[in-house]
Amino acid sequence: MASLTLKDIKKVYPNTESGPKKKKKKQQAEEPGKEKANLQITDEGVVAVQKFSLDIADREFIVLVGPSGCGKSTTLRMIAGLEEISSGELYIGDRLVNDVAPKDRDIAMVFQSYALYPHMTVYENMAFSLKLKKMKKEEIDQKVREAAEILDITQYLDRKPKALSGGQRQRVAIGRAIVRQPQVLLMDEPLSNLDAKLRNQMRAEIIKLRQKINTTFIYVTHDQTEAMTLGDRIVIMKDGFIQQIGTPQEVFNHPVNLFVAGFIGTPQMNFFEGSRLVEENGQYAVEVMGKKVVLSEGQQKALKAKGQKSCPVVLGIRPVHMTLDEGGFTGKIEVSEMMGSELHLHMNVDGADVVAIIPTVGIDLEAHSIGKTVRFSFKPELMHIFDVNTGKNLL
């Protein structure tokens, strides 16, 4: 059990291409008007992780989340010692571990592909690391059986991985990690290879596991649902940069930019482009779809404090914060998804696709079917206003 500190961690993959090819690639990436490639290409090479700084408290469950190629797995691998840190400092507890071998960092890792040794039984897989430490046989047996008990895999100890299902293999992989009682437990997309139903089950298992073993967790996923349900805090990454760090509630309620707002939350937040923030006589309002919505008192104060001027903005409102059958906005229902307790309505609003989530209790389903026109509105305090140029949240 230990805290971690990452200070300005950077990872650069050196160029292996020849000089002229490298120059051409860099020039293409820098061409104006052309969309930049995902990762920064410099003279040194491809920068996969940039200025990553994070303090992780002891026994905290941190989730690194982001789209593919954002640098989350690379960060995890640097913590594990499987990748060299190009610059920056990594502390586990008080120890600087940049140059410490992985086996001496007192960490364990669960891999996406399980990485179980196929020729060993479950027992042998879990005992392997302890045998390498030259522990006594009785001690190894005790630790393995304890871990197996926690994960409910005692009955599989004599089986080989190929005789197990995906979920069972994943539990063995977790068992192999926790049997060492590591200070930090790293998990690299451990549920990605499982089907949806099993993923939900295993998510609950991981939550229960966390309560049982009480160690520091660092969990990598591209699934924002996993991030929201598992993490004490979430680190959202894009293109090697940290976009936002916060609790699930913080990042859901106060996304710092358009990317975080669009990434967190299912269905995705509705974005109304072409909106405008206007300031008249000290009063702020947003002009959207031909209507003016006056901001709440708290929002007014925040903008006044910044001295915010009128500017074009992108207005964001979460589907679950839309109120139907009242208000000045109208939309035509194009898709109606019955989800049981909720109805997801995809509306055409002046050419834009807008999604609203409404509870199904007490509503007229016929009036909310495909082709029908409905009215909707949203509370100002639930609106998010993003600068159209920087994408940053103005509130």
Partner: protein, 326 residues
């Protein structure tokens, strides 16, 4: 339309999937659907049939008093049963031949079988992949040297006035006739064979090692395994199925050492150890007054030993592991 006589009607055949007609129709449909693959495999099957299976009928001369020009099966074929075999088993050369063949093969096997595995594991474990590729290329080079050139090289190095003897002589030592001494034959033969083939034989293991999940290595690193421990606990088990198959095939060919290189290295001085079954067959069948029936019988006996060894190896492997040829 063909009538089905005294049997079920065509309708009944169509309805009953286990009927002969239904099975035949299924077979033709499978052939039709897979005909591109059958066309692709046909030349290989033809070659194997023409050059490996068709000549098998020639083993019949092992049971005949055969002279060149005789028909293998004809009105004048002189069958003598197992006489050739009896002659071979009672030949004064039998036990020396068996001993020489067995020793040459078994020592060659003991040294030559693990060597490519070790080389493959070492190359795979190298940090610098570039250096590994360079070494692999160097190790593969000798495979392309022909046997004649190889023995020529051995002569240049180990002949009475070769490099080694010249160095020894310049240092005050005596010249040693490596090619005339029985003691030197087996080491020279086996070591030169291994030098020539170990790199090439390692290729198949290197290919198998490239399929090892890198995650297993990373898991082993985190578990605290050293590089050597990872080779033992990750790489070696991963290629064990391949090793089992290669072992079975090697055991099956254990007594089948070819005559060409032995013949090239054979001299009057090392004859007592260099005369093996293959060279004896060659001499009996193609030199002097050829006795092809006798030579065929000896060759057939050698092949039967190999088949028996192959079956034993395969059965044993099947019993103790999940790997076998069939």
């Amino acid at each position: 339309m063909r009538k089905v006589k005294d049997g079920p009607s065509a309708e009944a055949l169509a309805l009953d999937p286990t009927s002969r007609g239904a099975k035949s129709r299924r077979m033709w449909r499978r052939l039709r659907d897979n005909h591109p693959f059958l066309i692709m495999i046909f030349p290989a099957v033809l070659v194997v049939f023409l050059f490996n299976y068709l000549p098998i009928y020639g083993v019949l001369i092992a049971f005949q008093d055969f002279m060149p020009g005789d028909q293998i099966i004809g009105p004048y074929t002189h069958w003598i049963g197992f006489e050739h075999f009896k002659r071979f088993f009672t030949d004064v050369q039998f036990w020396p031949l068996m001993k020489n063949t067995f020793l040459l093969c078994i020592i060659g096997f003991v040294i030559g079988f693990p060597l490519p595995i070790i080389i493959a594991l070492m190359l795979n474990a190298m940090k610098s992949k570039k250096a590994g590729k360079v070494l692999q290329t160097i190790f593969n080079g000798p495979h392309f040297i022909s046997l004649v050139v190889l023995v020529g090289m051995l002569t240049l190095f180990f002949g009475r006035y070769g490099l080694v003897n010249n160095i020894a002589a310049s240092l005050g030592g005596e010249r040693y006739s490596y090619f005339l001494e029985s003691k030197a034959f087996r080491p020279m033969y086996i070591l030169s064979s291994n030098w020539q083939d170990f790199g090439w034989s390692a290729i198949i293991y290197i290919a198998a090692l490239s399929n090892v999940d890198p995650g297993q290595h990373e898991a082993a690193i985190l578990d605290g395994a050293s590089r050597f421990q990872r080779v033992i606990h990750v790489d070696l088990p991963a290629i064990m199925p391949m090793i089992s198959v290669m072992l079975i095939m090697s055991i099956g060919g254990l007594m089948g050492v070819g005559y060409e290189k032995v013949l090239l290295m054979m001299t009057d001085g090392n004859l007592e150890v260099s005369e093996i079954i293959a060279t004896y067959v060659y001499k009996q069948g193609l030199t002097g007054v050829p006795n092809q029936g006798y030579a065929t019988a000896i060759g057939l006996f050698n092949s039967i030993i190999n088949v028996v060894l192959l079956i034993i190896a395969n059965t044993t492997s099947k019993k103790f592991s999940e790997n076998s040829l069939w």
